[in-house]
Protein backbone atom coordinates (compact mmCIF):
# COMPACT_ATOMS: atom_id res chain seq x y z
CA UNK A 1 0.00 0.00 0.00
CA UNK A 2 2.46 2.65 1.23
CA UNK A 3 6.21 2.62 0.95
CA UNK A 4 8.69 5.25 2.08
CA UNK A 5 12.26 5.10 0.87
CA UNK A 6 15.17 6.96 2.39
CA UNK A 7 13.17 10.05 3.31
CA UNK A 8 15.04 13.16 4.44
CA UNK A 9 13.25 16.21 5.82
CA UNK A 10 14.76 19.46 7.05
CA UNK A 11 13.36 22.46 8.90
CA UNK A 12 16.02 25.00 8.04
CA UNK A 13 19.15 23.57 9.62
CA UNK A 14 17.27 20.98 11.70
CA UNK A 15 17.53 17.55 10.12
CA UNK A 16 14.18 16.15 11.32
CA UNK A 17 14.02 12.90 9.33
CA UNK A 18 17.33 11.21 8.59
CA UNK A 19 16.72 8.87 5.70
CA UNK A 20 13.86 6.80 7.09
CA UNK A 21 12.24 3.90 5.22
CA UNK A 22 9.08 2.07 6.15
CA UNK A 23 6.32 0.01 4.59
CA UNK A 24 2.61 -0.30 5.34
CA UNK A 25 0.88 -3.29 3.72
CA UNK A 26 -2.71 -3.48 2.61
CA UNK A 27 -5.09 -4.06 5.53
CA UNK A 28 -2.51 -3.53 8.27
CA UNK A 29 -2.38 -1.35 11.33
CA UNK A 30 1.21 -0.13 11.54
CA UNK A 31 2.28 2.00 14.46
CA UNK A 32 5.12 4.45 14.72
CA UNK A 33 6.19 5.04 18.31
CA UNK A 34 8.89 7.16 19.86
CA UNK A 35 9.61 9.94 22.32
CA UNK A 36 8.63 13.55 21.88
CA UNK A 37 10.55 15.21 19.06
CA UNK A 38 11.55 11.93 17.41
CA UNK A 39 10.00 12.96 14.10
CA UNK A 40 6.70 11.05 14.10
CA UNK A 41 4.50 14.01 13.25
CA UNK A 42 6.93 15.14 10.58
CA UNK A 43 6.74 11.69 9.01
CA UNK A 44 2.93 11.86 8.75
CA UNK A 45 2.97 15.45 7.49
CA UNK A 46 5.42 14.48 4.77
CA UNK A 47 3.28 11.51 3.73
CA UNK A 48 0.13 13.66 3.47
CA UNK A 49 1.94 16.43 1.60
CA UNK A 50 1.83 19.14 4.27
CA UNK A 51 5.64 19.16 4.36
CA UNK A 52 8.01 18.77 1.42
CA UNK A 53 10.91 16.34 1.84
CA UNK A 54 14.48 17.24 0.87
CA UNK A 55 15.00 13.84 -0.71
CA UNK A 56 13.54 10.35 -0.79
CA UNK A 57 10.42 8.77 -2.26
CA UNK A 58 6.87 8.12 -1.14
CA UNK A 59 5.15 5.37 -3.11
CA UNK A 60 1.42 4.73 -2.86
CA UNK A 61 0.19 1.53 -4.52
CA UNK A 62 3.16 1.54 -6.87
CA UNK A 63 2.81 5.20 -7.83
CA UNK A 64 5.40 7.76 -6.83
CA UNK A 65 3.47 10.56 -5.11
CA UNK A 66 6.46 12.50 -3.72
CA UNK A 67 5.86 15.52 -5.95
CA UNK A 68 2.08 15.65 -5.52
CA UNK A 69 0.13 18.33 -3.64
CA UNK A 70 -1.81 17.51 -0.47
CA UNK A 71 -4.99 17.84 -2.51
CA UNK A 72 -3.91 15.21 -5.05
CA UNK A 73 -2.92 12.87 -2.24
CA UNK A 74 -6.36 13.13 -0.63
CA UNK A 75 -7.81 12.18 -4.01
CA UNK A 76 -5.41 9.23 -4.17
CA UNK A 77 -6.77 7.94 -0.86
CA UNK A 78 -4.53 9.34 1.87
CA UNK A 79 -6.32 10.92 4.81
CA UNK A 80 -4.60 12.59 7.73
CA UNK A 81 -6.07 13.28 11.17
CA UNK A 82 -3.43 15.75 12.38
CA UNK A 83 -1.87 16.02 15.82
CA UNK A 84 -3.96 17.98 18.31
CA UNK A 85 -7.30 17.11 16.63
CA UNK A 86 -7.59 20.42 14.79
CA UNK A 87 -11.34 20.39 14.29
CA UNK A 88 -12.85 23.56 12.80
CA UNK A 89 -14.10 25.09 16.07
CA UNK A 90 -16.79 27.47 14.82
CA UNK A 91 -18.26 24.97 12.38
CA UNK A 92 -20.85 22.47 13.53
CA UNK A 93 -20.10 18.78 13.87
CA UNK A 94 -21.97 18.11 10.64
CA UNK A 95 -20.10 20.86 8.78
CA UNK A 96 -16.79 19.44 10.01
CA UNK A 97 -17.71 16.04 8.65
CA UNK A 98 -18.79 17.59 5.35
CA UNK A 99 -15.38 19.31 5.12
CA UNK A 100 -13.83 15.84 5.30
CA UNK A 101 -15.64 15.02 2.05
CA UNK A 102 -14.67 18.38 0.51
CA UNK A 103 -13.10 16.91 -2.63
CA UNK A 104 -15.88 14.39 -3.26
CA UNK A 105 -18.81 15.00 -5.58
CA UNK A 106 -20.78 11.74 -5.12
CA UNK A 107 -23.58 13.05 -2.90
CA UNK A 108 -25.40 9.74 -2.22
CA UNK A 109 -22.14 8.05 -1.28
CA UNK A 110 -21.19 10.94 1.00
CA UNK A 111 -24.54 10.56 2.75
CA UNK A 112 -23.80 6.86 3.24
CA UNK A 113 -20.39 7.56 4.72
CA UNK A 114 -21.92 10.17 6.99
CA UNK A 115 -24.29 7.54 8.33
CA UNK A 116 -21.36 5.16 8.73
CA UNK A 117 -19.47 7.74 10.81
CA UNK A 118 -22.55 8.42 12.95
CA UNK A 119 -22.94 4.68 13.52
CA UNK A 120 -19.31 4.53 14.56
CA UNK A 121 -19.61 7.57 16.84
CA UNK A 122 -23.25 7.90 18.00
CA UNK A 123 -22.30 10.85 20.20
CA UNK A 124 -21.44 12.86 17.08
CA UNK A 125 -24.88 12.17 15.69
CA UNK A 126 -26.43 13.62 18.85
CA UNK A 127 -24.33 16.78 18.47
CA UNK A 128 -24.61 17.36 14.72
CA UNK A 129 -25.68 21.00 15.11
CA UNK A 130 -23.25 21.87 17.91
CA UNK A 131 -20.11 23.94 17.17
CA UNK A 132 -17.12 21.58 17.25
CA UNK A 133 -15.24 23.91 19.58
CA UNK A 134 -17.74 23.17 22.34
CA UNK A 135 -17.15 19.39 22.28
CA UNK A 136 -15.11 17.62 24.95
CA UNK A 137 -11.59 16.46 24.12
CA UNK A 138 -12.69 12.89 23.48
CA UNK A 139 -15.56 13.97 21.27
CA UNK A 140 -13.26 16.25 19.30
CA UNK A 141 -10.91 13.33 18.73
CA UNK A 142 -13.82 11.22 17.48
CA UNK A 143 -14.80 14.07 15.19
CA UNK A 144 -11.24 14.35 13.87
CA UNK A 145 -11.21 10.63 13.06
CA UNK A 146 -14.72 10.75 11.60
CA UNK A 147 -13.79 13.75 9.47
CA UNK A 148 -10.71 11.93 8.17
CA UNK A 149 -12.88 8.94 7.26
CA UNK A 150 -15.25 11.12 5.24
CA UNK A 151 -12.79 11.26 2.35
CA UNK A 152 -13.18 7.46 2.17
CA UNK A 153 -9.43 6.87 2.47
CA UNK A 154 -7.45 3.81 1.53
CA UNK A 155 -4.95 4.66 4.24
CA UNK A 156 -5.68 6.64 7.39
CA UNK A 157 -2.87 8.54 9.12
CA UNK A 158 -3.60 9.11 12.81
CA UNK A 159 -1.34 11.36 14.88
CA UNK A 160 -1.59 10.65 18.62
CA UNK A 161 -5.33 10.06 18.87
CA UNK A 162 -4.99 9.20 22.57
CA UNK A 163 -3.31 12.48 23.53
CA UNK A 164 -4.87 14.06 26.61
CA UNK A 165 -7.71 11.56 26.96
CA UNK A 166 -8.87 9.67 30.06
CA UNK A 167 -7.87 5.97 30.08
CA UNK A 168 -11.39 4.73 29.46
CA UNK A 169 -11.74 6.96 26.41
CA UNK A 170 -8.33 5.89 25.15
CA UNK A 171 -9.55 2.30 25.22
CA UNK A 172 -12.68 3.29 23.30
CA UNK A 173 -10.71 5.18 20.65
CA UNK A 174 -8.37 2.24 20.15
CA UNK A 175 -11.34 -0.14 19.80
CA UNK A 176 -12.74 2.13 17.12
CA UNK A 177 -9.41 2.26 15.27
CA UNK A 178 -9.40 -1.51 15.27
CA UNK A 179 -12.98 -1.51 13.97
CA UNK A 180 -12.17 0.93 11.18
CA UNK A 181 -9.24 -1.28 10.19
CA UNK A 182 -11.38 -4.44 10.24
CA UNK A 183 -13.82 -2.67 7.93
CA UNK A 184 -11.04 -2.38 5.38
CA UNK A 185 -9.04 0.81 5.97
CA UNK A 186 -5.29 0.54 6.32
CA UNK A 187 -3.99 2.54 9.30
CA UNK A 188 -0.66 4.21 10.07
CA UNK A 189 -0.87 5.15 13.74
CA UNK A 190 1.53 7.48 15.52
CA UNK A 191 1.48 7.16 19.29
CA UNK A 192 3.33 7.97 22.47
CA UNK A 193 1.10 5.51 24.29
CA UNK A 194 3.31 2.63 23.15
CA UNK A 195 1.59 -0.06 25.19
CA UNK A 196 -1.83 0.50 23.66
CA UNK A 197 -0.51 1.06 20.17
CA UNK A 198 1.60 -2.11 20.15
CA UNK A 199 -1.39 -4.13 21.34
CA UNK A 200 -3.53 -3.29 18.33
CA UNK A 201 -0.77 -2.98 15.69
CA UNK A 202 0.20 -5.72 13.28
CA UNK A 203 3.64 -4.21 12.91
CA UNK A 204 5.52 -1.38 14.55
CA UNK A 205 8.46 0.95 14.01
CA UNK A 206 10.35 2.74 16.77
CA UNK A 207 11.79 6.19 16.04
CA UNK A 208 14.54 8.05 17.83
CA UNK A 209 15.75 11.54 16.83
CA UNK A 210 14.84 11.27 13.18
CA UNK A 211 15.81 7.64 12.54
CA UNK A 212 14.02 4.32 12.73
CA UNK A 213 15.92 2.24 15.28
CA UNK A 214 13.76 -0.86 15.58
CA UNK A 215 10.93 -2.63 13.87
CA UNK A 216 8.96 -5.85 14.17
CA UNK A 217 5.50 -7.17 14.87
CA UNK A 218 3.52 -5.59 17.69
CA UNK A 219 4.00 -8.74 19.77
CA UNK A 220 7.76 -8.77 19.25
CA UNK A 221 8.20 -5.19 20.30
CA UNK A 222 5.99 -5.64 23.36
CA UNK A 223 8.45 -8.36 24.46
CA UNK A 224 11.58 -6.45 23.48
CA UNK A 225 13.75 -5.36 26.42
CA UNK A 226 14.79 -2.20 24.64
CA UNK A 227 11.18 -1.13 24.12
CA UNK A 228 10.14 -2.18 27.61
CA UNK A 229 12.85 -0.03 29.15
CA UNK A 230 12.35 3.02 27.02
CA UNK A 231 8.61 3.16 26.43
CA UNK A 232 6.70 0.76 28.66
CA UNK A 233 8.09 1.88 32.00
CA UNK A 234 10.34 -1.10 32.81
Amino acid sequence: MLEINNLNVHFGVIHALKGISLTVNDGEIVTLIGANGAGKTTTLRTISGLKKPTSGDIILNGENITGMSAQQRVNKGISHAPEGRRVFPAMTVLENLEMGAYLRKDKPEIARDLKMVYDLFPVLSDRQKQPAGTLSGGEQQMLAIGRALMSRPKILLLDEPSMGLAPLLVQEIFNIIRGVNKAGTTVLLVEQNAMMALQIAHRAYVMETGSIVLHGTGEELLQSDQVKKAYLGG
Binding site: S48, L50, P82, F88, A90, M99, Y102, L103
Partner: protein, 323 residues
Protein backbone atom coordinates in the same frame (compact mmCIF):
# COMPACT_ATOMS: atom_id res chain seq x y z
CA UNK B 1 -39.57 22.76 -0.90
CA UNK B 2 -39.62 24.58 -4.24
CA UNK B 3 -42.47 26.67 -2.88
CA UNK B 4 -40.49 27.71 0.17
CA UNK B 5 -37.44 28.58 -1.90
CA UNK B 6 -39.50 30.65 -4.28
CA UNK B 7 -41.19 32.38 -1.41
CA UNK B 8 -37.81 33.29 0.13
CA UNK B 9 -36.51 34.52 -3.20
CA UNK B 10 -39.60 36.63 -3.76
CA UNK B 11 -39.31 38.09 -0.27
CA UNK B 12 -35.66 38.86 -0.87
CA UNK B 13 -36.39 40.64 -4.13
CA UNK B 14 -39.23 42.59 -2.52
CA UNK B 15 -36.92 43.57 0.35
CA UNK B 16 -34.23 44.75 -2.05
CA UNK B 17 -36.66 46.75 -4.19
CA UNK B 18 -38.19 48.25 -1.08
CA UNK B 19 -34.81 49.37 0.27
CA UNK B 20 -34.11 51.02 -3.08
CA UNK B 21 -37.51 52.68 -3.35
CA UNK B 22 -37.57 54.06 0.19
CA UNK B 23 -34.20 55.76 -0.13
CA UNK B 24 -35.09 56.98 -3.62
CA UNK B 25 -38.27 58.49 -2.19
CA UNK B 26 -36.35 60.18 0.62
CA UNK B 27 -33.87 61.60 -1.89
CA UNK B 28 -36.51 62.89 -4.31
CA UNK B 29 -38.54 64.50 -1.51
CA UNK B 30 -35.30 66.11 -0.30
CA UNK B 31 -35.63 64.61 3.18
CA UNK B 32 -32.16 63.29 2.41
CA UNK B 33 -30.77 66.71 1.49
CA UNK B 34 -27.41 67.51 -0.05
CA UNK B 35 -25.75 67.31 3.36
CA UNK B 36 -27.27 63.95 4.29
CA UNK B 37 -26.55 62.68 0.80
CA UNK B 38 -22.84 62.79 1.58
CA UNK B 39 -23.57 60.57 4.58
CA UNK B 40 -25.56 58.20 2.35
CA UNK B 41 -22.66 57.97 -0.08
CA UNK B 42 -20.19 57.40 2.75
CA UNK B 43 -22.38 54.63 4.13
CA UNK B 44 -22.57 52.89 0.76
CA UNK B 45 -18.84 53.14 0.12
CA UNK B 46 -18.06 51.93 3.63
CA UNK B 47 -20.42 48.98 3.22
CA UNK B 48 -18.56 47.91 0.08
CA UNK B 49 -15.19 48.37 1.81
CA UNK B 50 -16.21 46.58 5.01
CA UNK B 51 -17.97 43.65 3.37
CA UNK B 52 -15.01 43.05 1.07
CA UNK B 53 -12.47 43.34 3.90
CA UNK B 54 -14.65 40.96 5.87
CA UNK B 55 -14.17 38.40 3.11
CA UNK B 56 -10.39 38.67 3.53
CA UNK B 57 -10.13 39.08 7.30
CA UNK B 58 -13.41 37.88 8.78
CA UNK B 59 -14.14 34.84 6.62
CA UNK B 60 -10.73 33.75 5.32
CA UNK B 61 -8.84 34.87 8.44
CA UNK B 62 -6.12 36.87 6.68
CA UNK B 63 -5.37 39.95 8.79
CA UNK B 64 -5.06 42.79 6.28
CA UNK B 65 -4.24 46.43 6.98
CA UNK B 66 -3.98 47.45 3.33
CA UNK B 67 -7.55 47.89 2.19
CA UNK B 68 -7.19 51.66 1.70
CA UNK B 69 -4.36 50.91 -0.74
CA UNK B 70 -6.67 48.86 -2.97
CA UNK B 71 -9.28 51.58 -2.64
CA UNK B 72 -6.85 54.26 -3.79
CA UNK B 73 -6.04 52.33 -6.96
CA UNK B 74 -9.73 52.26 -7.87
CA UNK B 75 -10.09 55.94 -7.01
CA UNK B 76 -7.15 57.11 -9.14
CA UNK B 77 -7.90 54.83 -12.08
CA UNK B 78 -11.53 55.91 -12.27
CA UNK B 79 -10.67 59.59 -11.77
CA UNK B 80 -8.05 59.58 -14.52
CA UNK B 81 -10.44 57.88 -16.94
CA UNK B 82 -13.52 60.03 -16.24
CA UNK B 83 -11.45 63.22 -16.42
CA UNK B 84 -10.56 62.29 -19.99
CA UNK B 85 -13.90 60.72 -20.93
CA UNK B 86 -16.49 62.61 -18.86
CA UNK B 87 -19.51 60.52 -19.84
CA UNK B 88 -21.51 57.78 -18.17
CA UNK B 89 -19.68 55.27 -20.34
CA UNK B 90 -16.38 56.73 -19.18
CA UNK B 91 -17.53 56.52 -15.56
CA UNK B 92 -18.57 52.86 -15.88
CA UNK B 93 -15.34 52.03 -17.69
CA UNK B 94 -13.50 53.86 -14.90
CA UNK B 95 -15.21 51.85 -12.17
CA UNK B 96 -14.55 48.60 -13.98
CA UNK B 97 -10.92 49.42 -14.75
CA UNK B 98 -10.41 50.68 -11.18
CA UNK B 99 -11.71 47.40 -9.83
CA UNK B 100 -9.62 45.32 -12.23
CA UNK B 101 -6.43 47.27 -11.48
CA UNK B 102 -7.03 46.92 -7.74
CA UNK B 103 -7.67 43.19 -8.18
CA UNK B 104 -4.42 42.88 -10.10
CA UNK B 105 -2.51 44.49 -7.25
CA UNK B 106 -4.46 42.31 -4.81
CA UNK B 107 -3.19 39.30 -6.71
CA UNK B 108 0.40 40.56 -6.66
CA UNK B 109 0.13 41.27 -2.92
CA UNK B 110 -1.63 38.00 -2.20
CA UNK B 111 1.12 35.88 -3.69
CA UNK B 112 4.21 36.85 -1.69
CA UNK B 113 2.33 37.45 1.56
CA UNK B 114 0.85 33.95 1.60
CA UNK B 115 3.59 32.56 3.75
CA UNK B 116 2.89 35.18 6.39
CA UNK B 117 0.35 34.91 9.17
CA UNK B 118 -1.31 37.19 11.67
CA UNK B 119 0.72 40.23 12.67
CA UNK B 120 3.34 39.64 9.99
CA UNK B 121 0.71 39.64 7.26
CA UNK B 122 -0.85 42.79 8.73
CA UNK B 123 2.52 44.56 8.60
CA UNK B 124 3.21 43.37 5.05
CA UNK B 125 -0.18 44.56 3.77
CA UNK B 126 0.30 47.84 5.61
CA UNK B 127 3.68 48.25 3.91
CA UNK B 128 2.12 47.48 0.55
CA UNK B 129 -0.52 50.18 0.93
CA UNK B 130 2.15 52.68 2.00
CA UNK B 131 4.14 51.84 -1.14
CA UNK B 132 1.04 52.46 -3.27
CA UNK B 133 0.51 55.80 -1.54
CA UNK B 134 4.11 56.85 -2.11
CA UNK B 135 3.93 55.80 -5.75
CA UNK B 136 0.87 58.03 -6.21
CA UNK B 137 2.70 60.92 -4.54
CA UNK B 138 5.70 60.50 -6.83
CA UNK B 139 3.89 59.92 -10.12
CA UNK B 140 3.55 63.70 -10.31
CA UNK B 141 2.92 63.95 -14.04
CA UNK B 142 -0.11 61.65 -13.88
CA UNK B 143 -1.48 62.00 -10.34
CA UNK B 144 -0.49 65.59 -9.56
CA UNK B 145 1.48 64.27 -6.57
CA UNK B 146 0.58 65.10 -3.00
CA UNK B 147 -1.82 67.85 -4.06
CA UNK B 148 -4.07 65.27 -5.66
CA UNK B 149 -6.65 65.41 -8.43
CA UNK B 150 -9.42 67.99 -8.48
CA UNK B 151 -12.63 68.50 -10.46
CA UNK B 152 -13.30 64.85 -11.08
CA UNK B 153 -16.65 64.60 -12.92
CA UNK B 154 -19.47 63.45 -10.66
CA UNK B 155 -21.61 60.60 -11.95
CA UNK B 156 -22.45 58.87 -8.68
CA UNK B 157 -26.09 59.02 -7.68
CA UNK B 158 -28.32 56.79 -5.60
CA UNK B 159 -29.24 54.32 -8.40
CA UNK B 160 -25.56 53.68 -9.20
CA UNK B 161 -24.64 53.42 -5.53
CA UNK B 162 -27.42 50.92 -5.04
CA UNK B 163 -26.30 48.82 -8.00
CA UNK B 164 -22.73 48.60 -6.74
CA UNK B 165 -23.59 48.02 -3.08
CA UNK B 166 -26.16 45.32 -3.88
CA UNK B 167 -23.79 43.83 -6.46
CA UNK B 168 -20.94 43.60 -3.95
CA UNK B 169 -23.10 42.09 -1.23
CA UNK B 170 -24.64 39.53 -3.60
CA UNK B 171 -21.26 38.62 -5.08
CA UNK B 172 -19.63 37.99 -1.71
CA UNK B 173 -22.69 36.39 -0.16
CA UNK B 174 -23.07 33.89 -3.01
CA UNK B 175 -19.37 33.14 -2.93
CA UNK B 176 -19.55 32.40 0.78
CA UNK B 177 -22.66 30.21 0.42
CA UNK B 178 -20.85 28.04 -2.12
CA UNK B 179 -18.26 25.37 -1.40
CA UNK B 180 -15.63 28.06 -2.04
CA UNK B 181 -16.95 29.90 1.01
CA UNK B 182 -16.67 26.79 3.12
CA UNK B 183 -13.05 26.47 2.02
CA UNK B 184 -12.34 30.08 3.04
CA UNK B 185 -13.91 29.59 6.47
CA UNK B 186 -12.03 26.32 6.97
CA UNK B 187 -8.76 28.18 6.31
CA UNK B 188 -9.70 30.76 8.94
CA UNK B 189 -10.63 28.04 11.42
CA UNK B 190 -7.53 25.91 10.99
CA UNK B 191 -5.26 26.26 8.01
CA UNK B 192 -3.36 23.01 8.56
CA UNK B 193 -6.55 20.99 8.93
CA UNK B 194 -7.97 22.71 5.83
CA UNK B 195 -4.92 21.68 3.86
CA UNK B 196 -5.18 18.14 5.19
CA UNK B 197 -8.78 18.01 3.89
CA UNK B 198 -7.40 18.69 0.43
CA UNK B 199 -8.30 22.38 0.24
CA UNK B 200 -5.93 24.38 -1.94
CA UNK B 201 -5.24 26.99 0.74
CA UNK B 202 -2.97 29.09 -1.49
CA UNK B 203 -5.64 29.41 -4.15
CA UNK B 204 -8.32 30.52 -1.72
CA UNK B 205 -6.16 33.02 0.12
CA UNK B 206 -5.19 34.66 -3.18
CA UNK B 207 -8.80 34.51 -4.35
CA UNK B 208 -9.98 36.30 -1.20
CA UNK B 209 -7.41 39.05 -1.78
CA UNK B 210 -8.35 39.40 -5.46
CA UNK B 211 -12.09 39.65 -4.84
CA UNK B 212 -11.64 41.84 -1.77
CA UNK B 213 -9.37 44.20 -3.70
CA UNK B 214 -11.72 44.23 -6.69
CA UNK B 215 -14.59 45.47 -4.49
CA UNK B 216 -12.33 47.97 -2.69
CA UNK B 217 -11.43 49.28 -6.14
CA UNK B 218 -15.13 49.85 -6.87
CA UNK B 219 -15.51 51.69 -3.57
CA UNK B 220 -12.54 53.91 -4.40
CA UNK B 221 -13.93 54.68 -7.84
CA UNK B 222 -17.29 55.70 -6.34
CA UNK B 223 -15.48 57.84 -3.78
CA UNK B 224 -13.50 59.80 -6.38
CA UNK B 225 -16.55 60.28 -8.56
CA UNK B 226 -18.77 61.60 -5.75
CA UNK B 227 -16.34 63.71 -3.73
CA UNK B 228 -14.59 64.97 -6.93
CA UNK B 229 -11.29 65.47 -5.12
CA UNK B 230 -8.71 62.84 -4.13
CA UNK B 231 -5.17 62.91 -2.79
CA UNK B 232 -2.85 60.11 -1.66
CA UNK B 233 -3.14 60.99 2.04
CA UNK B 234 -6.86 60.16 2.03
CA UNK B 235 -5.90 56.52 1.58
CA UNK B 236 -3.31 56.11 4.31
CA UNK B 237 -3.02 53.81 7.29
CA UNK B 238 -5.86 55.52 9.16
CA UNK B 239 -8.34 54.80 6.37
CA UNK B 240 -7.44 51.10 6.50
CA UNK B 241 -7.95 51.15 10.25
CA UNK B 242 -11.33 52.87 9.83
CA UNK B 243 -12.47 50.04 7.57
CA UNK B 244 -11.15 47.40 9.94
CA UNK B 245 -13.02 49.08 12.80
CA UNK B 246 -16.30 48.72 10.89
CA UNK B 247 -15.59 45.03 10.22
CA UNK B 248 -14.64 44.23 13.81
CA UNK B 249 -17.52 46.26 15.22
CA UNK B 250 -20.07 44.51 13.01
CA UNK B 251 -18.58 41.11 13.64
CA UNK B 252 -15.78 39.21 11.90
CA UNK B 253 -17.57 36.80 9.60
CA UNK B 254 -20.91 38.60 9.37
CA UNK B 255 -21.90 40.44 6.18
CA UNK B 256 -25.01 41.95 7.72
CA UNK B 257 -22.87 42.95 10.70
CA UNK B 258 -20.60 44.96 8.41
CA UNK B 259 -23.62 46.65 6.83
CA UNK B 260 -25.12 47.46 10.21
CA UNK B 261 -21.85 48.83 11.59
CA UNK B 262 -21.22 50.96 8.49
CA UNK B 263 -24.66 52.55 8.84
CA UNK B 264 -24.37 52.98 12.60
CA UNK B 265 -20.93 54.59 12.56
CA UNK B 266 -21.80 56.97 9.73
CA UNK B 267 -25.00 58.06 11.48
CA UNK B 268 -23.19 58.53 14.80
CA UNK B 269 -20.39 60.43 13.14
CA UNK B 270 -22.81 62.69 11.21
CA UNK B 271 -24.81 63.38 14.36
CA UNK B 272 -21.66 64.29 16.30
CA UNK B 273 -20.68 66.89 13.68
CA UNK B 274 -22.64 69.33 15.81
CA UNK B 275 -20.17 68.86 18.70
CA UNK B 276 -16.85 69.29 16.87
CA UNK B 277 -14.73 69.61 20.04
CA UNK B 278 -15.65 66.29 21.59
CA UNK B 279 -16.70 64.46 18.43
CA UNK B 280 -13.71 62.12 18.21
CA UNK B 281 -13.79 61.42 21.93
CA UNK B 282 -17.45 60.42 21.82
CA UNK B 283 -16.85 58.31 18.72
CA UNK B 284 -13.98 56.45 20.35
CA UNK B 285 -15.96 56.07 23.57
CA UNK B 286 -18.83 54.41 21.71
CA UNK B 287 -16.41 51.99 20.07
CA UNK B 288 -14.85 51.10 23.41
CA UNK B 289 -18.21 50.59 25.07
CA UNK B 290 -19.52 48.36 22.27
CA UNK B 291 -16.34 46.28 22.32
CA UNK B 292 -16.58 45.83 26.09
CA UNK B 293 -20.16 44.59 25.94
CA UNK B 294 -20.00 42.85 22.54
CA UNK B 295 -16.37 41.74 22.10
CA UNK B 296 -17.44 39.50 19.21
CA UNK B 297 -18.92 42.52 17.43
CA UNK B 298 -22.55 43.56 17.06
CA UNK B 299 -23.62 40.37 15.28
CA UNK B 300 -20.69 38.05 16.02
CA UNK B 301 -20.58 35.69 13.04
CA UNK B 302 -24.39 35.57 12.74
CA UNK B 303 -26.37 36.99 9.85
CA UNK B 304 -29.64 38.87 9.86
CA UNK B 305 -31.80 37.09 7.32
CA UNK B 306 -35.31 37.38 5.99
CA UNK B 307 -36.20 33.91 7.26
CA UNK B 308 -35.34 35.22 10.74
CA UNK B 309 -38.04 37.85 10.39
CA UNK B 310 -40.41 35.16 9.16
CA UNK B 311 -39.76 33.09 12.27
CA UNK B 312 -40.20 36.13 14.50
CA UNK B 313 -43.42 36.93 12.68
CA UNK B 314 -44.74 33.40 13.23
CA UNK B 315 -43.81 33.48 16.90
CA UNK B 316 -45.58 36.77 17.26
CA UNK B 317 -48.71 35.50 15.48
CA UNK B 318 -48.66 32.40 17.66
CA UNK B 319 -48.40 34.48 20.82
CA UNK B 320 -51.44 36.50 19.80
CA UNK B 321 -53.40 33.35 19.04
CA UNK B 322 -52.86 32.14 22.59
CA UNK B 323 -54.59 35.11 24.17
Amino acid sequence: MRGILNKQLTQRIIFMLLAYAIVQLLVSTNIINAYLQATLVTICINIILAVSLNLITGFTGQFSLGHAGFMSIGAYTCALITMRVPTIAGFLAGVLMGAVMAALVGFLVGLPTLRLRGDYLAIATLGMSEIIRIVFINLDSITNGAAGLNDIPRFVNWPWLYVFVAGTILLIRNLLKSSHGRACIAIREDEIAAEAMGINTTKYKVLAFIIGAFCAGIAGALYSSYFYYIKPDLFGFLKSVDILVIVVLGGLGSISGSVLAAVLLAVVSTYFQSFPEIRMILYALILVIIMIFRPQGLLGSKEISISMFNRMGKLFAFGKGEK
